[in-house]
């Protein structure tokens, strides 16, 4: 009898818990929507008010972003861009490290004002977020493989296991266009370790990172990047929340100025990157406009 009683009570309790949890979720959702509607575009004002720009950056490894082991400070291309963005707005910079899996939430929930997070333009992303129309780079994927693997072009990947990192937008084209068996590992380091462990025939990651790896790291001397054409080269942009036209326009002016002054090309070379043809073209275009 008594056992029955406690079990019923337990059931009631768990019902109540479940209901209150549901209620909380609804409240959270409601505030999230309310908030996004309320500051339609007060972001630029708020940046100036608190005299600080908050940017979400990805620190997944050089040349884009990494922690300097000596100073524990973030360094790299993303970091340089974020710092200069704040400098040109005349405010301080705060950088928040984000992951491919949480970066959109950080932006949507207002934890960051903008994302400089290796996030290329796709139609799905453009539906939920906005960006200044001029890209700061055009970045595609490169494939790294053992020199003796026999893989020379993207087409050689058909039916072969290819390592990528989880959250990579190369997974879809590799599987659909080139018929590769995609294996997505937690991050780029795990994927590259899996390549070294022969768990896949090749690995595909952002081209500048792999080029730097092959060029500078003696551990990778048995590996090469045989294909010179990048996979789905796409524009890299600064992402902001949808509908924030003021912020978008302010960033657009700065990005155009990066191209016009040639600062962008210098900063890429400083970080060991090779400016893409798209960036060189944009430099020429904006320079011609101002002349």
């Amino acid at each position: 009898m008594s056992e029955h009683f406690t079990r019923n009570k337990l059931k009631q309790n768990s019902h109540r818990l479940w209901h209150s949890a549901l209620g909380r979720v609804v409240v959270v959702l409601a505030t999230a929507f309310g908030a996004s509607a309320a500051h339609a575009d007060s972001t630029l004002d708020r940046i100036h008010e608190r005299h600080q720009l908050v940017v979400g950056v990805i620190l997944s490894g050089p040349p884009f972003g990494s922690l300097n082991p000596a100073t524990q400070k973030p360094v790299g291309f993303n970091v340089d861009l974020a710092e200069n963005l704040a400098k040109r707005l005349g405010v301080d910079i705060q950088m928040i490290p984000v992951q491919p899996s949480n970066r959109v939430q950080f932006l949507q929930q207002g934890k960051v004002d903008a994302l400089i997070a290796n996030m290329e333009v796709t139609t799905e992303r453009a539906e939920i977020l906005a960006y200044p129309p001029t890209p700061f780079e055009q970045i595609g994927g490169a494939l790294i493989t053992r020199k003796d693997s026999g893989i020379k072009t993207w087409n050689d990947l058909r039916g072969k296991a290819v390592c990528v990192s989880q959250g990579s937008n190369y997974a879809k084209p590799l599987a659909e266009q080139y018929g590769a068996q995609v294996k997505a590992f937690r991050g780029q380091p795990e994927s590259l370790l899996a390549l070294r462990g022969n768990n896949c025939a090749a690995a595909v990651h952002v081209a500048p990172t792999l080029r730097l790896l092959v060029a500078r790291n003696p551990d990778w001397q048995d590996y090469s990047i045989p294909e010179s054409n990048d996979l789905i080269p796409s524009p890299s942009v600064i992402w902001v929340r949808k509908g924030e036209t003021d912020t978008q326009n302010a960033f657009e002016k700065i990005v155009e100025d990066w191209h016009r002054s040639g600062w962008l090309i210098d900063i890429e070379r400083k970080n060991g990157m090779q400016p893409s043809q798209a960036v060189l073209d944009l430099h020429a275009k904006f320079k011609a406009q101002s002349a």
Binding site: S101, E124, I128, A171, R186, E190, G197, N199
Partner: protein, 247 residues
């Protein structure tokens, strides 16, 4: 059939800001369902082997022979005291690499990421099962054992026919607890590209950035799965209850 139930449900959820449109894309829906099946398969296979590992380890741990008890104790301590994810990475990225190199001439390495996940999680949870069973084995009253001995039961018979059945009843709540934990632990297999439900979700939200929506689905899925285990455990408890023993 123009506006079926799934379409209506997706549209309704979209109104409150939840983007479940992936359900309408045949390939993504298929990969999510496949992911759920892989999680089930991984859970069942791992649970089976973890029980075998647990019983063997418990038998070794309670053995009077130091040659059996010592290695089992060392193994339990090492597996129990290190993070499973680290073990998985160690096994898959280090051991597997060495094994691949050694077996290169012999036609390659037969161990897949799925098998490595089963090995690592089953041994890890096996160590926990072993400790739970040991508690049960040691809870068997001396008088009962002496009675069995006087009836001519050998040590092996005492273990299999007396200690383990009684230990199982003592350890059952803990074992069920371990099983719930085991099912949740299978998500770490996604880190080495086993296509379970978490992995399938990651691949979908990579394209669609609908992390929240998929997280809700994953939570509901694991909630349902562990609920079933919980019920099965309760059923077993009442089923195995012996009048006058413990309860």
């Amino acid at each position: 059939m123009s506006q079926g139930l799934p379409e209506a449900a997706v549209a309704a959820l979209n109104k409150i800001g939840l983007n479940y449109s992936f359900v309408l894309a045949a390939d993504e829906r298929a990969s999510f369902i496949h992911g759920m099946l892989v999680t089930l398969e991984l859970s069942v296979v791992t649970a089976f082997f973890s029980l075998i590992a647990g019983v063997l380890l418990a038998a070794m741990l309670t053995s009077p022979r130091a040659a059996l008890a010592r290695p089992a104790r060392i193994f339990v301590e090492i597996t129990r005291n290190t993070p499973t994810l680290v073990q998985l990475f160690c096994a898959f990225l280090v051991l597997n690499m060495l094994l691949s190199q050694a077996l290169r001439e012999l036609g390659g390495n037969p161990l897949t990421p799925f098998i490595w996940s089963v090995i690592v999680i089953a041994l890890h949870k096996g160590a926990f099962h072993a400790e739970a069973l040991r508690a049960g084995i040691e809870a068997v009253p001396r008088a009962t054992l002496e009675a069995a001995q006087s009836l001519g039961y050998s040590r092996r018979q005492r273990l299999w026919e007396l200690q383990l059945p009684l230990a199982l009843r003592f350890a059952l709540p803990t074992l069920v607890n371990n099983m719930v934990d085991l099912v949740k632990m299978t998500t770490i297999a996604s880190a080495i590209a086993v296509g379970d439900v978490t992995y399938a979700s990651i691949m979908i939200w990579t394209q669609r950035d609908n992390v929240l929506e998929l997280m809700i689905l994953i939570l509901l899925f694991f909630g349902a799965l562990t609920f079933v285990i919980n019920r099965a455990g309760r059923w077993l408890e009442t089923r195995l209850r012996m009048p006058g023993y413990g309860h």
